[in-house]
């Protein structure tokens, strides 16, 4: 099962992609969070819409904030969401 990772979507990213999470088989060429977002955009119009302006999207790897250039090596869970607005 190597290569399978859980993808999580929150807030308007979740609404646009139409799901809150999925188990995905990432392409072997995807080494960073940015690579994953580039691949997600190819998966259909809803993903293209969600990740169109991908610089605003925040990401976390295994429940820790991560930059877009962070490596996804050994990642089990990658999350995509808008800037947080709690408090």
């Amino acid at each position: 099962m190597t290569g399978t990772v859980k993808l999580m979507y929150f807030a308007w990213v979740r609404e646009k992609v139409g799901m809150s999470s999925e188990d995905a088989q990432l392409p072997e060429t995807a080494k960073t969070v940015a690579d994953v977002m580039a691949w997600l955009k190819t998966r259909g119009p809803e993903f293209q819409a969600a990740f169109e302006n991908d610089t605003v999207i925040r990401t976390a790897i295994d429940q820790t904030h991560a930059q877009h250039d962070a490596t996804i090596l050994n990642a089990r869970e990658i999350a995509f969401f808008p800037p947080v607005t709690g408090g």
Binding site: A60, T64, P82, P83, V84, T85, G86, G87
Partner: protein
């Protein structure tokens, strides 16, 4: 357990008592309560719905809390954040910082709120009376507020 993410309301008096009862080393307690504001006449907010990232939220809040304890001499801290649908006037978030002296308690409470606002994975959606929903935009002022804690010479004791 000093971090709670819950649908239920909280009471600032009860939460404060729980931190201070029996601890006579505490001389200062600062609490911050965030509430849902009503909208304007032209843009009434009927409901605020709080979404979060279960698991990461608690981890992130505990990390923020630990950082406050590293920076200030705190006797106790507490963070409660509500999730789910909330009406105007309802509580959203509670932060408490208790210390021997007031400066540490004030600074730590402000720090906890600034970091929570920019790091903890919560998202607010406003739904107006017509049922129209809109995700609340992040505020640049919150990032600026958080950045002020980055200069260690100014903030570390």
């Amino acid at each position: 357990m000093t971090v709670s993410v819950q649908e239920a309301d909280f009471n600032v008096g009860d939460e404060t008592s729980r931190l201070t009862d029996g601890n006579t080393d505490i001389g200062a307690v600062v609490t911050f309560t965030g509430l849902v504001r009503g909208g304007t006449d032209t843009n009434p907010a009927a409901t605020m719905t709080l979404e979060h990232y279960p698991g990461m939220t608690e981890t992130e809040l505990e990390r923020i809390e630990a950082e406050a304890h590293d920076r200030w001499p705190l006797a106790a801290t507490r963070i409660v954040h509500r999730v789910g649908p909330l009406q105007p006037g309802e509580n959203i978030v509670l932060v408490i910082a208790a210390s021997r002296h007031r400066q540490a308690a004030f600074e730590a409470a402000a720090f906890l709120m600034d970091y929570l606002k920019t790091k903890a994975p919560f998202w607010k959606k406003e739904t107006d009376n017509a049922g129209q929903g809109a995700w609340v935009d992040a505020r640049e002022s919150d990032n600026i507020a958080t950045d002020r804690w980055q200069n260690p010479s100014k903030t570390r004791r």
